[in-house]
């Protein structure tokens, strides 16, 4: 079965012009997400994963600027589209987003049902009656108990897990082609996290929604995603099927990350020497080279390109230049 | 040899204060980006310079009367004309700058320490201390400022010193409130809990940890209030309660010159304009300081 490409990001470069200098946040990022896929974008603070998501939604704010690249969604380059066009037809409709703190995105003076209702009516021409029914349906779909009662309540009355589910209901109301979830469970307790992640996974399976999950937690990605992309300091360093990347990680950073996190495998935590670079003056060539045990001269000089080293498994590292 | 030692000292001083220096540089950068702040700063600096160097700048002595040249039209000899007693208006305005500054500084010298002290202890200790201080503040704030100042000024006796005390008494609640508000939010922050865990006394926490963080809000407020102080002082002088003749006080000049507004317009107008410009300058400066202190513009300062 050939997978259909839904989103393709090509050579995306984003800079932030700040007082201290130019922060080269994204250094030519490449990413492909197929329709119906659950894709995990993983990396630590400052790697650029959230900036990438903002770029897809064309929400890169001043002092940030998209310097070059293409973001091809359903065949059209979003970066070349008219901003009004994106606002009206893409953002909030075809591509929606949930974030770490749902309460920040929910309107505190509107009850939960209304929030979803508004989203439904704004995007489709349906009657208020039909919209109300659909709202309750959506709340049921996200496993909210007593949906009528919850619909009448206000966001501040919801716990973290429930609020996140209301957000998901709202963001699914337009039947988007792509749902971006930016650290949706980071602020939630483990037992609640499990509920929300299971929900997201069900949604991918049942509705064929494509989800881009952004997180710093590799274990979460391992459990829920089909494919994963690992980012470091503005670069995409490795992408592939979850099984490939986690069980046969190729990039030294990916390997380092796996050894540094507390997981069921760890007997101890192995540090990655050095620290995350300052993106105003990032290292030359491969941005990971100062911390890499395998760094060669070429790593300082040139940026490695993404190469397919096994089917569907890509790495950007000079260790594999000749092993194609 | 001495040169080496002093050079070493300078380098090490530079290293120890590198952070402050970089902060100051960042401040300058932000100031440069805001033209209105620069205008405000320019006006106020001019005011200060004029006040300090008044004896050297002013063409005439401000109190000497030239009864033969009363109400003279502005001319080469008297650039802004003379008033009803033949005194040179320009010189009186120049010396008046010093008087205005003195009023502002003394009022703030009373209000800032008083307000900060009361606000800090009200906010930090809460309970009945807070209640008492806030109720007293409420009483003072219940009256319109000018009326209260007038009442106090009249009760104490009409002179400049009493005016300053009166104005100070009407304004301290604002600073106390502000300091209390800052204290309430700061005392919940983790680094205060950390100080307690280290064994620091309440006094130490208040003076060395909470107080330094209140400064910027209070300074901004003080700067914006400078204009208010001048305005009230001018109003009080206008009503005969403030500075007494022959002090070159701008408010007094407007007051005693008001009868001449129609035919000898320069007598009340120029001092009035001086007040306007000063208030305007402080407002711009205060806004500018507020914007610059905004933690969003600064990297993680708060």
């Amino acid at each position: 079965m050939v997978q259909e490409l839904l989103l393709e990001i090509k050579d995306l470069e984003v800079n932030f012009y700040t007082y201290r200098g130019v922060v080269k946040a994204l250094n030519g990022v490449n990413l492909r997400i197929n329709k119906g896929e659950f894709f995990g974008l993983v990396g630590e603070t400052g790697c650029g994963k959230s900036v990438t998501a903002s770029a897809v939604l064309n929400l890169v704010q001043n002092p940030g600027k998209i310097e070059k690249g293409e973001i091809i969604f359903q065949g059209m380059d979003l970066l070349k589209m008219d901003k009004e066009e994106i606002r009206k037809n893409v953002r909030g409709k075809e591509i929606t987003m949930i974030m770490q703190y749902p309460n920040a995105a929910l309107n505190p003076v509107v009850n939960n049902g209304e929030q979803i209702l508004e989203a439904l009516i704004a995007n489709k021409k349906i009657s208020k009656e039909a919209a109300k029914k659909r709202t309750i349906e959506l709340l049921k779909e996200v496993n909210i108990p007593e949906p009528e009662k919850i619909a009448r309540q206000y966001p501040h009355q919801l716990s973290g897990g429930m609020a996140q589910r209301v957000m998901i209901a709202m963001m699914l109301s337009t039947k988007p082609a792509l749902l971006i979830a930016d650290e949706p469970t980071t602020a939630l307790d483990v037992s609640i996290q499990a509920q929300v992640l299971t929900l997201l996974k069900d949604l991918v399976e049942k509705n064929q929604t494509t989800i881009l999950l952004i997180t710093h937690d590799l274990s979460v990605v391992a459990e829920t995603c089909d494919r994963v992309g690992v980012m470091y300091a503005g670069d995409m360093v490795e992408t592939g099927k979850v099984d490939q990347v986690i069980n046969s990680a190729k990039h030294p950073y990916t390997k380092g990350l796996i050894n540094a996190i507390p997981s069921e495998r760890s007997k101890e935590l192995v540090e990655i020497r050095g620290s995350v670079p300052d993106l105003v003056e990032p290292p030359t060539g491969c941005r990971f080279h100062p911390r890499c045990d395998y760094a060669k001269t070429i790593c300082k000089r040139r940026k490695p390109q993404m190469l397919e080293i096994e089917r569907n498994h890509f790495v950007a590292c000079f260790l594999y230049e000749n092993k194609k | 040899m001495n040169k080496e030692i002093s050079q070493n000292w300078i380098t090490s001083w530079g290293k120890r204060h590198a952070s402050e220096i970089s902060d100051i540089k960042e401040t300058f950068y932000l100031v440069k980006k805001s033209p209105l702040t620069i205008v405000g700063l320019a006006i106020i600096l001019t005011l200060v310079v004029v006040a300090i160097f008044a004896p050297y700048i002013a063409p005439y002595d401000p109190v000497t009367m030239h009864l033969d040249k009363r109400l003279a039209v502005p001319s080469k000899d008297h650039l802004l004309g003379t008033d009803e007693l033949g005194r040179d208006i320009l010189s009186r305005i120049i010396y008046g700058a010093g008087v205005a500054l003195k009023i502002m500084l003394i009022v703030l010298a009373i209000d800032l320490p008083l307000g900060i002290f009361l606000g800090l202890i009200a906010g930090y200790f809460g309970g009945w201390i807070d209640e008492i201080i806030m109720r007293i503040a409420d009483i003072f704030m219940a009256f319109p400022r000018l009326i209260l100042a007038m009442a106090i000024g009249a009760a104490l006796g009409p002179n400049l010193r009493n005016t300053m005390i009166a104005i100070a008494l009407t304004m301290w609640p604002v600073y106390a409130r502000l300091a209390r508000g800052e204290t309430l939010s700061i005392k919940e922050r983790t680094f205060i809990e950390a100080e307690k865990a280290l064994g620091s006394s309440n006094l130490k926490i208040l003076i060395f940890n909470i107080l330094p963080l209140c400064f910027s809000t209070l300074i901004v407020r003080a700067t914006l209030d400078m204009g208010n102080i001048i305005r009230i002082a001018a109003g009080m002088s206008f009503l005969g309660l403030g500075a007494q003749p022959p002090t070159p006080d701008w408010g007094l000049m407007v007051s005693s010159g008001r009868n001449f507004l129609i035919n000898q317009w320069w007598v009340p107008t120029f001092p009035g304009f001086a007040i306007l410009l000063t208030v305007f300058g402080f407002n711009l400066l205060g806004d500018g300081i507020r914007d610059i202190s905004d933690p969003h513009l600064r990297r993680g300062k708060n």
């Binding site: 630590e44 299971t198 990350l257 507390p262 997981s263 069921e264 | 922050r189 950390a194 300062k301």
Partner: protein
């Protein structure tokens, strides 16, 4: 193994609106031995953070006793400075636990000054430099401000600040939760090293179960103010007995598909600590609930195997 800290039936209730209380800690008894790394694990509302502060008497317990080195310290009216020195804390958020307008030297030196541990400025600087080195930082940071440092560096400063007072034990309140993964490893390894070098006892508060397995030697799992299970970390991990512990272990995400077992997804939300369920706190979400006994009686901690205690009617 010598006991350093003992808690007996500690309760901490916070007044909440009218006549109600947030029962943050509702009857906890544990003992921590010298040189232990004791883990306090739980989700939100479990009371682990409050308990950590009660041990240090940063918060006063509503009832119950705290024993330190055999001496009851909970009845002392005002905790004296000497006692304060002996127990320290490192907070979770390195971005708010350091005063934004103070230099590193003054942040670390604050405790030294309060307790008159140095005679003059020169000694102060020397001592601070020594501890900066101990936590892996250089003396060039002495005159910097916190906002010039990264999260990991700030946390090192927080550690130096606590350890420079030469405490006997340190409460580590989620010390790495706010840090990046790769930095977390550094800080945790540093903490382990310092425990050896300075003979410290740690109370390690966290919500990360795999982290607990790597770092701690003893573990207590808390839920809604009570301890559900406690004992040697390895034993608890190999043989989790309490239904809550089992549910938690089943849902923590794992890298290896083979290591995942059937997930016990707990239904509903964690109840509010203002109205915790009567009887066993966990019965409203427990899949192994026996019946009325779970609703009426709160089970006590019983030793089911060597150094492994569970509070559950299933084992009574």
């Amino acid at each position: 193994m010598e006991e350093l800290i003992q808690l007996k039936e500690i309760k901490k209730y916070f007044p909440w609106k009218k006549q109600k209380y947030v029962k943050a800690v509702d009857g906890v008894s544990i003992s921590v031995n010298k040189r232990d790394i004791f883990g306090l694990v739980g989700e939100s509302g479990s009371g682990k953070t409050t308990l950590g502060r009660v041990i240090l008497r940063l918060i006063e317990p509503t009832s119950g006793s705290v024993f330190f080195n055999g001496r009851e310290i909970s009845k002392i009216k005002k905790i004296d400075k000497t006692l304060r020195k002996k127990m320290q804390i490192v907070f979770q958020d390195p971005y708010s636990s350091l005063h934004p307008r103070k230099k590193i030297k003054d942040i670390i030196g604050s405790g030294l000054r309060t307790h008159h541990m140095v005679k003059n400025e020169v000694e102060l600087i020397e001592k601070i430099e020594r501890f900066l080195n101990l936590v892996g930082m250089g003396k060039e940071h002495l005159y910097r401000y916190p906002h010039e440092l990264s999260g990991g560096q700030r946390q090192r400063i927080a550690i130096a600040r606590a350890l420079i007072l030469n405490p006997e034990f340190v409460v580590l309140d989620e010390p790495t939760s706010s840090l990046d993964v790769s930095v977390q490893a550094e800080i945790l390894n540093l903490l382990k090293k310092l425990r050896e070098e300075l003979n410290l006892t740690y109370i390690f508060i966290t919500h990360d179960l795999f982290l607990t397995r790597i770092i701690t030697e003893k573990i207590a799992i808390m839920y809604l103010g009570k301890i559900m299970e406690y004992g040697d970390t390895e034993r608890v991990f190999r043989n989790p007995m309490h239904p809550y512990t089992r549910a938690l272990f089943s849902v923590i995400p794992r890298l290896d598909a083979k290591m995942r077992s059937k997930k016990i997804i707990l239904q509903g939300e964690i109840p509010s600590p203002v109205n915790p369920p009567l009887g066993c706190r966990f019965h409203t979400r427990c899949i192994n609930k026996i019946g009325a006994v779970c609703e009426k009686t709160s089970p006590d901690l019983k030793e089911i195997e060597d150094n492994h205690f569970v509070a559950c009617h299933l084992y009574h």
